[in-house]
Amino acid sequence: MHDVNWVALVIFVLLFAFITWLGFAAARWRKGDLDLLHEWGLAGRRFGTVVTWFLVGGDLYTAYTFIAVPALAFGAGAVAFFAVPYTIVVYPLLFLAFPRLWQVCHKHGYITTGDFVRGRFGNRWLALAITVTGIVATMPYIALQLVGIQVVLGGLGLSGTGWAADLPLIIAFLILAAFTYSSGLRAPASIAIVKDILIYITAFVAVIVIPIELGGFGKIFAAVPPAKLLLAPPGPNTTGSYGAYATLALGSAFALLLYPHSMTAILSANSGRAVRRNAALLPGYSFMLGLLALVGFFAIAAGVKGLPEFAAGFKQFGNNYAVPALFLHSFPSWFVGLAFAAIAIGALVPAAIMSIAAANLYTRNIHREFINRNPTDKQEAQMAKWVSLIVKLGALIFILFIPTQYAIYLQLLGGIWIIQTLPSVMIGAYTRWFNDWALLVGWAVGTFAGTWMAIAADLKPTYPVHIGGFTFPGYTALYTVILNVVVAMVLTVVFKALGAQRPAADETAAADYIVA
């Protein structure tokens, strides 16, 4: 503990104490009966455009993103910038499909995608597949948020051995678990406002102050090895890095909004119009993320990897230590404390929403559907509160006892799995044409093919598809969801030809989807 940065630590702890108080106080914000699941788990669907902006922004642009995207730029260069086209193409999807989902969920009291699919297609097994996919894909994502906290705690000098080393992370986790249990979605929503202001301050100071210290963008980019500065132009008979870049951006955009925590934040808005307005306003975060990706290049130019004081951090956290090291190198201690608090608090917001989303899914679509069909409102809300604790405990145990790399692999697989819910959820928002069993088979084929391809590609996100003499390296999730849709379409036609049509199952009507 001899290297502790005390000034930074004090600022960090003060900010953390403030958001802890805020998280508990949030229970009384836009007061509702927290013994009802839609009050605890969706904050009563009462958030207007501005709070939704903070909540969805704080939810989708996670602390891990702010660590990992610059780390990828630092290590691999230009390819990390795929985060920018990714967060550009995601907003048309948010604008088009999700206000429709908001409307139908509001009308029928749906809290999860599982609820929606159950109502739309009347098939509990399809709803179960959607639910389990959501929970399984979310778990490693929560674990990665804790990695974000670990990295900045390491940056503060809070290292040690054995239990002492993990104690700060455990304390942060207990705080998170307690205020999520007591305040539900109101806690991350209120904290998101503080967190986002801190993150914006950090990002803009970083992209103005550090380039001045380093002598301007020209010098920074001159320090980046030429091979990392641009995408490698594809060779003959392949789409090469271009195909990988574009499919990663497009596939990630499709996957992102299907995650349960995206849905939870979107459904807590007070209207479909508030969701639409946010499709135009949320790119503010994309712009900041793009600037933060450049921070990875600043770290190259500052040469932090070669500095002896950061050797231990890079050894422990790899390139994820690039941003903390650069901040320690470039900023006065008090600002380091603020920046690190921004990242750590930035991990708590999505972690809280993810655990709430997973808890809503379990409670509504597993417990209520298969175990206790007629819970009281209070039992249902209480069950969700307990499950949110269990989910977070699982993530904590994962991070403490299993190598971080496994969480990263599982999160990669999670993206491939969650995108397989696209035909039922996103296309389902437009049409009931698909046969429900055909959707289930499509989901299974996509999930198994995606998992197999990812393993065959040594757990890299892209898989080289060979057709004729051509090679198309692309994001496995995008390839397999196309396979999923094709299988579901073919089987729907086959089942309809065999007369298996059951038109009465849909409990929603076309008018339920129209954005008022």
Partner: protein, 68 residues
Amino acid sequence: MNSEQGQKDGWSWWYLLFLVQFVAVLWPPFYNQVEPTWIGMPFFYWYQLLWVLIAAAITAGIYLATRK
């Protein structure tokens, strides 16, 4: 042109404008180059950052155009 139909099924022809941003940022040959640089930043980077702003403006325009 489409107001009556738009209210019935939620579709508007304005939505086709979204395709512009898909094409602009998902085709790397458009922007995978260093020149022209801007304040020392290669084209690859400032082009994509600029499109964040253009795409937001397009989305806002579509929102306003399709508001009742």
